[in-house]
């Protein structure tokens, strides 16, 4: 059929089953927005900043497992979106981001709102395209969705000049994808899997090291089964929270810089690391030369470049973690005897009793950790929890009782402040039956506060819980610990009135400083089902502990901080 480039975008999104597009219009993308106006295949949600459009699409993608879609205009529209692209790239989130570009005849002339968009996005996307002819659009968009969702997922950016969106050409979305240079390996090598299982059978202190790839691969329930059948304890990375569920007796906790003592000690004492969809990030490993020093390493990952990048893998297995875990499950009953690991489980139990993850209540002020636990007690499985970046994020990862995959949505790799609120809007859109909470800080929330307008307008009742310590808390913590308390530019005592702020946008605000007030505010916000800011005054100088100082070894944890 002969249609315009702009119509092709609409048709392609319809063919991909897209039900939501987050975006912001502008000059170069107007032809497409004109077609959006005429269609009712999908809902367009107008954010109030392009960065928020990308984060909202990320949140939507993370909670649903589908490809997130966002649309922006050329120039500043695109550059505002770059942080979101980089965020999605670091956390392997499948996304298709479409940007307008100046007309072909103006490219290279420093035209109004022109920027070399594909030049910028090259290093922060899985792949990108500049479409120079409308007859390429069907192929390009089909490839974009395919590349975004397969292999190691990631964002794909499609830049379309304005004249291409106006150009009439033939559109056929039924042509099969022919990408002879892109064929991800999904099935793990059977012989290698067998060898890995033999290594597990021979190990005395094996440890499952679970990463976000498990959630991407929808393999959490298979991994639960594998852990159970083998009777092997597990640590989760930040990105994997919710994989095993907080009640699972084999789950030790999160490991890494702010991981629990038991999790980090288990990693230090193990004789066989079984890495599933994890990438040995520096926040996880601490000092590499001391990381799991006496252990063999099994590493299952869909991305060959993640294997032996930082830690040498003795048993590298390239493949989709779900396929590999299913293959391991088949071999487990005959090869693995769970009784063998019981003494190891006791050792870990001992670690946990020695230094459990804990905090001390204070009679004067709410402790931020209590707030997280309390949200968990009140809402538990009924909420999806997004966060911003900083102390509140780590406390959430440590203390929230996550019970399922895709319940925890946070910016792990890039650590993007301002991620939480827009992501929580996308989460609400993707999972409307769950309460969408954004746990945030008084620093982060102001980085995308304009999204109050989007949330109110598009009826996305996100509840923002601000753990307000009047500090840029995580940086303040490092300054306290490593910079002799020189709190350079981290005192956020000058603040807006968050209650009035929420109300000025048509949301609802709560000021909370006691447990009773918090319970009442959260219950009221859930019941009223409106966009909310709950401004919780918490202890100003609370630190995230335990902590492995940057570059230190996992077994050298700072367990307590005593102010001298």
């Amino acid at each position: 059929m002969q249609i315009s480039g702009a119509q092709m975008v609409i048709e392609a999104l319809a063919a991909e089953g897209v039900d939501t597009v987050f975006g912001y219009p502008g000059g170069a993308i107007m032809n497409v927005y004109d077609e959006i106006y005429k269609q009712d295949n999908f809902k367009h949600i107008l954010t109030r900043h392009e960065q928020a459009a990308i984060h909202a699409a990320e949140g939507y993608s993370k909670v649903t497992g589908k490809v997130g879609v966002a649309m922006v205009t050329s120039g500043p529209g695109f550059t505002n979106a770059v942080t979101g692209l980089a965020d999605a790239y670091m956390d392997s989130i499948p996304m298709v981001v479409i940007s307008g570009q100046v007309p072909m005849s103006l490219i290279g002339t420093d035209a109004f709102q022109e920027i070399d968009a594909v030049g910028i996005s090259r290093s922060c996307t899985k792949h990108n395209y500049l479409v120079t002819d409308a007859s390429d659009l069907a192929r390009v968009l089909k490839e974009a969705f395919h590349i975004a969702a397969t292999g190691r997922p990631g964002p794909v950016h499609v830049d379309i000049p304005k004249d291409v969106t106006a150009q009439i050409a033939e559109f056929d979305y039924t042509q099969p994808i022919e990408l002879e240079t892109y064929k991800p390996i999904t099935k793990g090598n059977a012989r290698q899997i067998k060898k890995a299982m033999d290594a597990i059978a021979a190990a005395k202190r094996p440890l499952l090291y679970l990463g976000g790839g498990i959630i991407n691969a929808n393999a959490a329930y298979e991994v639960r089964e594998l852990a159970k059948v083998m009777g092997i304890p597990a640590v989760e990375t930040f990105m994997a929270r919710g994989t095993l569920g907080h009640e699972n007796p084999l789950l030790i906790s999160m490991l890494g810089m702010h991981g629990s003592y038991a999790a980090n000690m288990a990693m230090s004492e193990t004789d066989l690391v079984i890495g599933l969809g994890a990438r040995f990030d520096d926040r996880v490993t601490g000092k590499l030369s001391e990381f799991a020093k006496n252990a063999g390493v099994i590493h299952v990952d869909i991305d060959p470049a993640s294997i032996s990048k930082l830690v040498n893998a003795d048993y590298p297995i390239v493949g989709d973690v779900k396929n590999v875990v299913n293959a391991m499950l088949k071999l487990a009953p005959e090869k693995i005897d769970p009784v063998r690991y019981e003494p190891w489980l006791e050792t870990i139990e001992h670690f946990d009793t020695l230094h459990p993850l804990q905090y001390h209540e204070d009679s004067d002020r709410l402790k931020p950790q209590w707030v997280i636990e309390r949200i968990g007690e009140l809402l538990g499985d009924d909420a999806n929890i997004s966060t911003d970046v900083g102390q509140h994020q780590m406390w959430t990862a440590q203390f929230y009782p996550f019970s399922r995959p895709r319940q925890f949505i946070s910016s792990g790799g890039l650590g993007t402040m301002g991620f939480g609120f827009p992501a929580a809007m996308g989460v609400k859109r993707g999972a409307p039956d769950k309460v969408s909470i954004n746990v945030t800080g008084d620093g982060s929330i102001l980085m995308n506060i304009q999204e109050l307008m989007t949330a109110v307008e598009s009826k996305l009742p996100v509840i923002n819980v601000i753990l307000n310590n009047n500090y840029l808390g995580m940086v303040r913590q490092w300054q306290t610990l490593f910079y002799d308390k020189r709190h350079s530019s981290t005192d956020l005592s000058v603040q807006p009135d968050f209650v009035m702020l929420a109300e000025s946008f048509g949301g609802i605000g709560y000021r909370v400083s006691t447990k009773e007030e918090f319970d009442a505010a959260l219950k009221d916000a859930v019941e009223k089902n409106v966009v909310a800011l709950i401004d919780v005054t918490v202890h100003r100088l609370e630190n995230v502990l335990p902590m492995v100082p940057s570059g230190g070894s996992l077994f050298n944890m700072m367990l307590e901080y005593k102010d001298k």
Partner: protein, 157 residues
Amino acid sequence: MHEEERRVVSVIVINEASVLSRITDLFSGRGYNIESLTVAPIPESKYSRLTIVTSGSVRVIEQILKQLHKLIPVLRVYEHADLVEKEMALIKFPISESLSDIDALCHAYNGRIVNVGTDVIIAMVADEPKRVSNFLKAIKRFHPKEIVRSGAVALER
């Protein structure tokens, strides 16, 4: 980063817009070295072949290969162990230098004089990169005015 080794890597890519920047961005973004890089279309195909001379530890080289392979338009990546490697150089000499001496030296390095004008002599050699370097040392006494090296190309034996 101990034991840096010189390696020659060939990359077969789809011959399309911006594919070269994808590769050079990868090297600069991840802090890998490029000693030389050549690229040209493979005849009668939609592919191009790049020959990249790089250096790094075994782990770095392994990462380079994997990261290159991850790029969508990359078809194949080879790291050469047993290879035939050649590089070309063009050299411009003042006309006042001895034509016959230069010619004799060029012959020793698989080259010859390719152009003699009113002001300059232009010579070429094509040999293993190391030998090209030796040649360039040897011709210093003829006061070369300009030197251009092509970068290495390689084929596995």
